[in-house]
Amino acid sequence: MAPILEVDRVTMRFGGLVANEDVSFRVEPGQVYAVIGPNGAGKTTLFNAITGVYQPSAGEVRFEGSVIRKRVGPRLALRVLGTAVVSAIASSLAVNILSLWKAVVVANYAYGEPFAWGKALSCAGPVLREAGAAWTWLPALIGALVGGGAAFVLWLRRRRTPDVVQRAGIARTFQNIRLFGELSVLENVLVGMHARLRTGFLENLLRLPSFFGERHRSRDRAMELLRFVGLESRAPDAARNLPYGLQRRLEIARALASSPRLLLLDEPAAGMNPTETVALTGLIRQIRERGVTVLLIEHHMRVVMGVSDRICVLNFGKRIAEGTPEQIRSDPACIEAYLGKEELG
Amino acid sequence: MKNRTLPLLASLALASVALAQTGTLKIVSSLPRTGSANAQTTSMVNGIKMAIDEVGGQIDGMKIEYEDMDDASPQRGNWDPAVEAQNANRAVRDESVIGYIGTYNSGASKISMPILNKAGLVMISPGNTYPGLTKPGMGEANEPRIYRPSGKINYFRVVPTDDLQGRVAAEWAKELGCTSVYLLDDRELYGKGIADVFEKRAKELGLRVLGREGIDPKASNYKALANKIKASGADLVYYGGTTQTNAGQIAKDLRSAGVTSKYMVPDGCFEEAFILAAGAENLEGRTFITFGGLPANQLQGRGAKFREAYIARYRVEPEAYALYGYEAGRVLLDAVKRAKAKTREGVLEAVRSTRDFEGALGTWSFDENGDTTSRIMSGQSVEGGKFKFVKVLGQ
C-alpha cells in the first residue's frame, strides 16, 4: 500500500540551531503512528514542517505521494497577469492623472452644459501620446513588472502555507491549546470546517438561500462531531470557559471538522488525569475507525504503547529508532535515551 | 416618568415661544472658540459685545440677547462641519434669533450659508475673505449661486476679500523695490487663495516668482525650506498664512538660515500674537503686513472711540479683528433699529438696504453681492517690537 505521509530526510535549521536533522519515516493509511522523544527532541518542529508552518531547510514532506503546494496553473497566471495589468494602468494613470483630467474633463466641460462623452474621451489619446513613451509606457511597464513580480514572489512564498496544507487533507491540534477563546464551542468547530464550506462573501452578506442550506448542514455536522467527542451540551459556551481536558477534546473535534485524511495530534494527553487519558485512548481508536490516519506526539507512554501501530523515536533532532511498539520497547538506544529515564523517573 | 415629563417639557417649550413674543431678539455668533483661533475670535466676541452694550442691550424696548456659539469641536480643535451645521440649524429653529454673526473660516460658511439662506436669516461675517462666497466668477463656476438656494442674498461681510488684499500686497511689494519673490502658502483656503492672487498680480507687475511651496503648518520648523529659499536668492518671501499656521516659525527659520530678504504676510498675521510667536528681533525692519482695513490706532471718529472704549474695558489694545466683530455687530443692530418689523425678513431687508453706514472703518455700504464697499487697505511693518502703520494701500 502507498504511504499516506512520507517524511523524507527533513532537516530544520534556525540560524545555527538544528532542530531536526535528516528525519525520515512513512505513515501507512489507517495507522496510528507516534513520534516520541524527550523534551526538545524536535517533535513539534517536525509537526510544523509537515503542516506548512515552517518550510523544511532540506528534504521534503510528501502527502499521498506528492508535496503539497499550490499548483502552477491558470489561477496563478490569472493572478500574476491581473496584478500586472492593474498596476500598469494604475502607475501610468498616477503619473498622468492631472494632465488627463485637464484634457478630458476640464477642457470639455462648460458649467451647466451637457458633456459630450465621446469627444471628451477621445482627448485622452493625444495627451498620452504627447507625454511620450517615457511618461506613458515606462511607468506602465515598471508597474507591470513590479506588480506582476510581487504577485509572483508572494505566491511563491505562500505556496505551502498551513491553510494550503490543511485544505489538502492534513489537520492538526496544538500542544499549547490554541482554541478561539471568544468563539463558542460550536463556532470553533465551524471554523475548522471553513475549507469544506462554500458560501461566499455576498451570499453571507445578503443571506441568499444557499446560505441557509449550508448553515443547516454545517451545524448538523458540527453537532455530530461535538457528540463524537462528548461536548454537545457545551456547544453555546465560550471555548475559553471549558475545563482543560474538554478544551483538548474540542481541539480534536475542530481538527476533524475539515474531514482530514491525516490528523496530527500534538501531545493530546498533556495535562490530563488518568481517567481522561484512558478516554482519550479510546477516542483515538475511534478516530482511526472512522478511517482517519493519525500521527501522534505524546509523552504518556501508556497512550503511545496502547494505540500506536508504529513509533518513531527522536533525540536531539535525529531519528534514533523506528518500529512497532514491541521493537521500540526493546531497543537499547531508546531505553538509554528516553524510555529508561522516563520509566525510572 | 415619561408621562410626567411630557407636559413639563411641553410647557417649557411654550414658555420659550411666549418669551420670544414678549420681545427678546437674539443674536448669535458662530466662531471657532476651541483651539488655536481662540485669540482672534475672543477679540471678535468682545467687539460684538461692545456693539450690543452700546445700544444698551435693547432696541425699541426689546431685549437683545447674545449667544456665543462655538463651531469647533474638541476632538478636531478647529472648525467642524458638523458643529457649524448644528449651530446654523439651531439658530434657524430658535424663532427669536434675528441675526447670525459668523463665521471665521470661509470653509465653515460654505456649510452654513445655504442653511441660513433657506431660512431667510441674515448672516454677517466678520472674518470670511474667500471671494467665491459672494463674487461671481471669482471662485468655482457655480459660486456664489449655490449659497443662495432661495435666490435672495442673506450673506454679508464687513471685511474686504482676498482678491483685493493679495493684489495690493503684490503692488506694495513692487513699490518696496522687490524684483523677485518666493511664495509660500499654508494650503488652507485663506492662505492659498491669497497667495494665488499675489502670484497672479506679481507676474503681471513683472516680479519674478522664483518658487511656490505649500507648507505643512504643523511642521516643527522650516529650516530646510529656508535653505532652499536662501539658495534661490529671492528678495521677498511672501507667506499666505496666519499666525496659527506658523508664520512666526517661518520668520525665525528664514533668519537663522541667513536669508536676508524681506518677508510679507497678510492680515491673518496682523495680531499681537504674531510678534510674540516670531520674536520681535526676527521681524524687525524686514517684515511687512497687509491688512484689509486700518489698524485701530489710525482710526478716526467712531473707530477711535471704539479703541478707547475697548482699552478701557478689556485693558488691552484691540486686535485687528476685534474691529470687525464690532462692526458686524453694529451693522446688524443698526439694521434691527431701522427695521420696521422686528422679524427675520425685516432685519434682512434692513441689512440689505444698508447704505453709507457710519462705521468704525469710515462710511461704507453693502454692494449688490453683499460685500462691503470699504476698500481701505493698510500696510504695516514691525518696529521696536510693535506694529507700525506705514501707509494706506490700494488708493
Binding site: 496544538f174 471554523v191 | 470653509g107 468655482e140 457655480n142
Partner: protein
Amino acid sequence: MIRGRSLSPSWILLGGAVLLGLLDRPLGLGLVDPMRGVLVFALLGLGLNVVTGFTGLLHLGMAAFMAIGAYAFAIGTCDIYPFQLGFWPAMVLTVVVGAVAGFLLGAPTLGLRGDYLAIVTLGFGEIVQDVMKNMDAITKGTQGINPLPPPVLPGVGELGSEEGPWYWLFLGLLVLAVMACRNLERSRTGRAWLAVREDELAASCMGIAPIPAKMYAFATGAALAAMAGGLWASLYASTGEPGNYDFQVSILALCIVIVGGMGSIDGVLVGSLAMIGVANIALPKLAAWLQARGVVDPSNVLGSPNNWKYLVFGVVLMVMMRVRPEGLLPARLGRVGGGR
C-alpha cells in the same frame, strides 16, 4: 448565536432612536439634528469594527476612506463636474470606490503585523489628505466641493432642510448596515475574521487563508467608511476641506469602537452615541448653559468653558476605560481579548 437572544442591545438602541425620532418634535428636544451626525459616525464605527473589532487589525486611517467616499460622492454628483450622477447611483459608486481603495491599500500591507500595520494605515491617512489637498485640479484642494445633492426618496422627493426625513433615512441605512454586519459576523466569512483575530496561526491551520480574509475585512470596512463619508458630504452639502478628514477623525472612530466594546455591534452604537454625543451635543450644551448663567470670564484662559473641552473629552475617555476596560457593551461571549 445558538442561544436565541430575544432582544439584543442593538435593537433596543435602534428602537430608542426610532422613539427619539418620533418624540423629538412634540417635546421640542432639538436632538434629531445633532443625532444625524451620531448616525453617520456609527456607520464609520461599524466599518472600523469589522477591521479592528472582528479581524483584530489596528487601523488608524479610517478617515482616509471616509475622505475617499466623500470625494468620490462629490465628484460623482457636483454640477461643476460633468458626471452629475444622482444620489443613489453616486452612493453605489462611493461604496465601490471605497472597497477598491481598501483592497488596494490592503494588498501590499496586510502581511504586516499588529502595530506595524497600524502605522501604515496612519501613513495612508496622511497621504490621502495630502493628495486631496495637492491635486487641486481634481479635488478643488482646500476649497471643498459643493453643493452636493441631498438624497432622493421615493414618495418624499429630495430631502430639504427638514431634519426628520434625513434622520429616518440615516437610521434606515444604519439598520441595514447593522444587519449586514450581523449577517457577516454569523457566517463563514465572519467566523474566519474572528478566528484570525483570536489566533492567526491557528486560523491558518484550520484552512483559513489569513490574507484574503483580512482583505475582505479591510474592503468591507473601507466600503462602510466610504458610505459614511458620502452621507456625511451629502448631509452638509459639501465635502468640507481635506483637513476635515484628519487623524483626529480616525482616532474618534477608534474610540467609538473601543469605548463601545471591541467586536461588538451593539458597542459601536453605544460608543458613537457616547463619543459624538459628548463631543458635539453635551459639551456645547454645557458651554451654552454656563454661558447663560454668566459663569464665563473671557479675560482668563480658565474662565471660558470652550477651553475645557479637550480636558473634559480626554477625562471622559480615561474614566470610561477605567470603569469598563472591556467597553460599554462588550461582545456577546464575555470579555474580548483579555490580557495582551
